[in-house]
Each structure stands twice: as C-alpha cells, then as structure tokens.
Amino acid sequence: MLELKNLSKSYGSVKAVKQVDLTIGKGEFFCLLGPSGCGKTTILRMIAGFEKVSGGKILLGGRDITNDSPNKRDVNTVFQNYALFPNFSVLDNINYGLKLKKLPKSELDARTEEVIRLVGLGGFEKRMPANLSGGQQQRVALARALINQPQLLLLDEPLSALDKKISEQTRNELSELQKKVGITFVFVTHNQTEALALADRIAVMKDGLIEHCDKPKEIYERPLTHFVADFIGSMNFFECTVTHSDEQISRLEIPGMGQITLSYNQIQQVGAKVLFCIRPERIKLSLLESSEFENCLGGIIRQKHYLGEITKFIVELSDNKMISVVCQNYLLQLSNEFYDIGEKVNVIWSKTSGELIHVS
C-alpha cells in the first residue's frame, strides 16, 4: 500500500531521517513511535507532501508520489494542532475537501452527514472551532480528513493535547473508527501505551532510523535492540557471557553474580558477550533459597513504592547492581507476603522469561 524506499531528509547538516525503508499494508493501523526529535513528524510530512524528500521514494498503491504536490495525493492528515479553519463553522471545515471536488449537493450532504455521525459531532455543525473543546476540535480534524475517503490517513500525535481521560476514550473510539472505515492509518506518537494499544504494527524510531518494526507483542516481548527494550516499558539489563548453548537452552554467566538459564532456540556462540534483559513484572521475590528455582539471585530490598495496583521494589544484587521488580498487590496479599526495605530476598524467574540482545 504505502512503501517508503530509502527515504531520507536533511535540514542543512541535520539528518532528520536516514534511509528509512518501510512497507505498510492496506487497512493497517501503523504506529511510528519514538522519542522527541527522532524524525517521526518529518516522515509524516514527507508522506503528506509538505516536505521535499532529500533522497529515496514514496509509493502509494504502487504509484510513485514522491514529487506530487499535497493536493494531488490521496492522503489526508490530522494535524497535531488540528489546524482547523477558524473562520469556518464546523460544517464548513468538515466538507471543505468535498466542496472543492464539486460533488452534486445530494451526495455532498449525504457524505457530510455520514461522517458527522461517524465521529459523533451531531448538533455542532453551526459552531465555530474556537467554541469547541479540545476533544471536539480533534473530531472535526478527523472528520475533515476522513470525509475525503483517502487511501491513507496520517495522524500526528492527535491525542497528545487531550487530558488523560479524554485521550484514553478517544483512543478507543479511534481504534473502532479505523476498523469501521478500513482506511490505512499512520499514527505518530511518542506515547508507548498509545502505540501498544492501537497499532497493528509499530516502528520504533531513534535518531532518524527505524530500530525495530513489528507487532506490539513482539516489540514488547522480543525487542531487537537495547534502545527498543529500554524505550518500551521498563527493563532490567545484565551484561553476561554465554557459557553453554544448544537448541533448547542457553546458559549465561553474569560476572560476580552467577549462572542463569534461558530457554532460547537460537544457538549462541560460547564466550560471546550478550545482554540479558528481563521485565520487572517477570521477576518474583522469595524469602526461600532453593535450587529448585530455575533462576535465583540474592539481594537486599532498597526501595519500595506502593502504586495501588502494583508495588515496585528496587533490589540491590551483588556488585551494587540495582534491578526493579514489580509485584501485583493482590498476589502479595493472597500469599501473605510482605517485604520491607532492608530485607534480604531472592529474586527468581523462570527460564522462559527474558530475552537476549546481541551487543556488537
């Protein structure tokens, strides 16, 4: 559907986007996720046609649109600041695109009505944008873009200006809406929760490059790079050396702490330096020391943060290594386990938990 081939963009000496290759399928809800300044908006603006590319190609439905002007592309944009026309009413904002196409009045009215119903703006047609709430303005921006039934809809952080509750509600509506209309969405955000919740696939970007592009579950559970592992959720990292590896398991030596075991289906080179990473929620605390645990390291609780649903512990292992461990509070209460700061504990996890990242 949409193909970016070797796409790059420089502003003077600043390389905002560096040779990005990406293919997005028809009807996909695709997220570009990354920290501020990584080039997400720049990619979006090149797809929309507001920014000239410095190199590479953009293909939409197999057609090269790299040098088409924005009004010739079958692409519409929901701007981060909405960019509504302040001197037009909601209705005139929404059917701006259709009026330009000189459709017969009956069709124009029918499509306008349909899209107004779709985004739930019935009754607001006569209002001016300045007299709408942020959430309502966002809907107008969405309706104004959707009414053209583009092949591709670009959304630049459409939820970031809304407060948390409204943003979550709008997020759910957006997801349903996308399924209903079946238009391909490219959604830019720096909010990983948004990306994980909405996207069919996510591309995680850093410094103008795509680090990892995959389904949310894969990105979360099997991050390809240190950056991705660190950026999405929170993660504990251990530098270690491979001491044994076959098709089922790998054994790793963490210097100064001991051996750990990991079910891993790729054979590692013995002696290789790798990064073992494990999510805080995959680790449990235990007072018992037992060789029955698949992986077990000793430590002392240094911090304890009660966060309602969960409690987050910071545990110091040997070598001053700090890791974080997250426990569900209801589980702690069920099993009557209460850990306190200063207590000696064991951190344990199963060999199916955790992931390896190769360090070059």
């Binding site: 507001f50 519409n76 600041n81 001197n87 695109g97 053209n148």
Partner: protein
C-alpha cells in the same frame, strides 16, 4: 468593585484632560466658527448662520469634495495593490528577511518629510533621474511629465501610505498558522484556491485597517497635492488651508473642515460597526 473603579478613573484622568484640551475644545471651536459664532469676522456677517455650510456644499466645493474622494479611493486601491504582495511576501519570509523589510519600511520615517517630498520631485522631475535614464537609453526623446499632475500625486500618496497599508496586512497574515495552509492543500485545494478561501479572508481585518489608515489621511491631505499635484489638482485639504491662511475666511474653512470630519466619522463608524478592532473575534482569532 468600587475602589477598583476609582483607580481606573484616576488613571484615566490625565489622558481625558489631554483629549479635552487638545482635541475636544479645538473641535468645538472649529464647529462654533463654522456656524458664524465666536466673533471671528468673515466680512459677511456675525451671529448664527448656516451660510457657510450652504457655500461648502455648493457646486464648486461639492465638486472638490467628490474629486478628493475619488483621489482617496484611487490612492487606496493603488496602495493596496502595491502593499498586499509585499505584506504577503514578508509574512511568509524567513525571520531575517522579515526584519530587513521591516527596517526598510520604517527607514523613511527617520527622514524629514520635506526632504522626502523634494527627493521624489528630483527623481520624477523633468530633469530627474527617471527621465534622464530613459532619455539616455533612448526610449524617450522628450521628458515625461511625471509630476505636477495626478500621476505624481498618486505616486506621492502610494509612497506616503505604503507603510500604513503593509504593516496591518502583514500583522494579520503573520499571525496565520502555516499549518492551516498545509491543511487546505492536504484537503485537495490548489494554491490559488487556498489563497482565495483561507489566506485572503484571514487578511481582511488587516486590509480593512490599512484601508482606513490610507483612505482617511489621503482624503484630507493637502501637502502631496501641493508638492506633486501641480495647479490642476486641488483637494479639499488645500481649499481648507487656503481659506484659513490666505483668504482668512475662518468660518468657511471651519465649515469645510466640519463636513470633512463628518465624512471621516461615517467611515470610522462603519469600520467599527463591521470590524470592531476591540472585539477579539475579528482581529485576534479571525
């Protein structure tokens, strides 16, 4: 509420006093003269009379009013035609370019007005720069009449009014968010449609302010016709000046002034009625 109001009144006192002394009282005096009051002798009569107004609206002077009106309209249209592209270019230029153009616009204000008038005369005169160059390269063989006619006057008006037209248009275009133009293109409008539907309406409050700033001073202007208009181009401002300074007919001059003031007031009222600059709806968020 009460103490706050008092503070406001105290703060308002000096400007009100100023307005009273230098604006309201002189205006009252002028209006008084125009009705033959105030003991200024005009030779004809003293005591309340409407004769000066009759005279002011009689054939010849009405003609001059209409002519002045025509000049003011023409000058405003020409100024707009020159100013709009400059303001537009400026609004979408880089910050550096904006600064440079702004500087160039303000620069003439640092020079004495008479010097500027004489320099226009030197440039456009029979032996001026323009005629000399054109004759040198052989395009013309006799000097063109560029001043002492209505052409010269229009040049003067456009020159004089340009900053007052450019700046308000620029300031309304400059406030415009570029992403609005991008949105219009994105929704399928081409550049011309985007200009007509988005940019132009957005600049209207600025343009109207510019029109007011141009039209009204031009209507009463007497310096530019004097310097650049020659003998045939008398405007109402010139008549008023000569009634005061040469003919010494102050009551008649006052009646002409009052009529002019009345016309100006009509335009300002219309402006406030339709483009109230104090209402944020039109100026700030438009």
């Amino acid at each position: 509420m009460f103490p706050k109001l008092k503070i406001h009144q105290t703060l308002l006192a000096p400007p009100l006093f100023w307005l009273l002394i230098f604006f309201i009282i002189p205006m009252a005096i002028v209006i008084g003269y125009s009705f033959g009051l105030g003991g200024v002798s005009s030779g004809a009569s003293s005591g309340f009379t409407l004769q000066f107004y009759k005279q002011a609206l009689s054939g010849m002077y009405l003609g001059i009013f209409l002519k002045s009106f025509g000049y003011a309209v023409g000058a405003t249209v020409l100024t707009m035609a020159v100013a709009y592209p400059i303001a537009y270019y400026m609004a979408f230029a880089s910050d550096r370019t904006k600064m440079i153009i702004m500087f160039l616009i303000i620069l003439p204000f640092w020079t004495n007005f008479l010097i500027r008038m004489y320099s226009i005369m030197t440039i456009l005169g029979d032996n001026g720069l323009v005629n000399n160059v054109l004759m040198q390269i052989g395009i013309i063989h006799e000097p063109l009449k560029l001043i002492n006619n209505s052409f010269g006057m229009y040049v003067g008006f456009v020159y004089w009014n340009l900053p007052f037209m450019i700046l308000p248009i620029f300031s309304s275009l400059d406030r415009m968010d570029v992403s609005m133009l991008e949105a219009s293109l994105d929704l399928g409008a081409n550049h011309r449609q985007t200009f007509m539907k988005i940019t132009l309406p957005y600049s209207i409050p600025g343009a109207v302010a510019g029109i007011i700033f141009t039209f009204i001073p031009t209507l009463g202007n007497f310096i530019i016709p004097e310097f650049l208009g020659g003998t045939g181009n008398t405007m109402i401002g010139n008549v008023i000046t000569s009634q005061y300074l040469q003919a010494r007919n102050w009551p008649f001059g006052s009646a002409l002034s009052t009529v002019l003031m009345f016309i100006v007031m009509i335009f300002i009222s219309l402006y406030i009625r339709y483009f109230d600059p104090t209402k944020s709806k039109n100026m700030v968020n438009f």
